[in-house]
Amino acid sequence: MRKVARVAVVVVTKNPLILRAALAVLLLTAFASEAAILPEDRADALYHSYDGGGVTINGPAIQVRKKVGESFSFSGKYYIDSVSSASIDVVTRASPYTEERKETDASVQYLRDKTTMTLAATYSKENDYLAKSMHFNLSQEVFGGMTTVSMGYSRGWDEVGKRDSNFSENTDRQNYRLGVSQVLTKNMLVDVSAEVITDQGFLNNPYREVRYLVTPTTVDWQAEVYPHTHTSTALAVRAKYYLPYRAALSGEFRYYTDSWGVDANMFELGYTHPVKSGWTIDLRLRHYQQNKADFYSDLFPYVDAQNFLARDKELSTFSSNTFGIGVSYEFARGGLGMIDHGTLNLSYDRIQFNYDDFRVAMAGGTPGTEPLYSFQADVIQFYISLWY
């Protein structure tokens, strides 16, 4: 589009009236097709690092996207998590371990008039877990380009294993998505989305155990038992507002409920501020809160106390708060060789997790009176993006 515009302007420069008309037509075509366009060609290389609660996970990720013709855009991604874990679960009932997860994604997007279709596949492998999934998304621009309606379906097949054993179980997943993006004013966008996910199969962690009272002062442990189905619904509203001095405010609210009795709310506020000479600063605050699953307990009263037993802190009552900052520098703004422009990005998030009914079992003392668990995590991302 940029090249076409340059040529057109050069050709008609001598006649101001035609110049104005040509510019108007160019602007109209550029913005009329604003939503129904394929994503830009770009390549990203990311290094990520997570450090918190005795767990460090880091590794690289690479993503490349390229248009072919006017209607197709292909994308490929490779991602690695190198995990070194001495988490509270691990140090309480197992031994620290290291492992690696490798993920490969491929997708193709097809654009026809105001309709975009995406087909994607994901393959993720670690020594005790294999996850394969297929995704289909359809989006349609309506109402003069002010509204985009989208829907999607995903299907996943997981194989759950256990190190040093023949243990093998399967999980099937299905996702249903629905979304509407709406231009509200010249300065404001709103996006509403819903997703229902249903899982069937082996859904707990084969290593994790729950603890129960043997006598008022002693405990023992037994394996977790989860239901074999799990259905969840999430609803999200996102808004983005353009501030008069070229900056953007964003807000998000997400509500979650599931068939295990977990309800959760998430709020996020963001601010993007471009500074002159190519620097952009991002600030974000996030708050998340959930209540426990029906079958979760930090300490069960006796062995086999219920049909289903969980002591996964992900299913407990807890909250998390995040403060994040990102800095981005745009280089080669006039183009450099094959590159149109690029960005260098550094991002840091500090997450605080506070658990309301998950205790530090190793602390000793009377069971059920140990201190409540909490931890902080530092998340760092460094990445380079090139547009071509």
């Binding site: 990520h48 997860r101 995704h135 231009v183 010249k186 983005k240 959760a264 998340v379 990445y383």
Partner: protein, 75 residues
């Protein structure tokens, strides 16, 4: 009864008229600010996919995170 039908018919016509009079109120040439990259819900997909994975591995909630969605189903 006839009067009621007439009122109902007129109301429907009015409603239909109201529907057809709603036109896109932000014209394509007024969307330059919305097209600014800072207004994107997903400016750097590689980064947003990563941070979604960070939260999804540690929180009970899942789904409707934006982007293509779906996740990898991994823990």
């Amino acid at each position: 009864m006839n009067g009621l039908r007439l009122v109902a018919l007129l109301s429907m016509l009015l409603l239909l008229g109201a529907c057809s009079s709603i036109e896109p109120w932000v014209k394509p040439y007024e969307r330059d600010r919305l097209a600014d990259p800072i207004m994107s819900f997903d400016r750097d997909p590689i980064s947003s996919a990563y941070i979604q994975h960070v939260y999804q591995s540690r929180e009970g909630a899942r789904g409707a995170e934006g982007g293509q969605g779906g996740g990898c189903g991994c823990n």
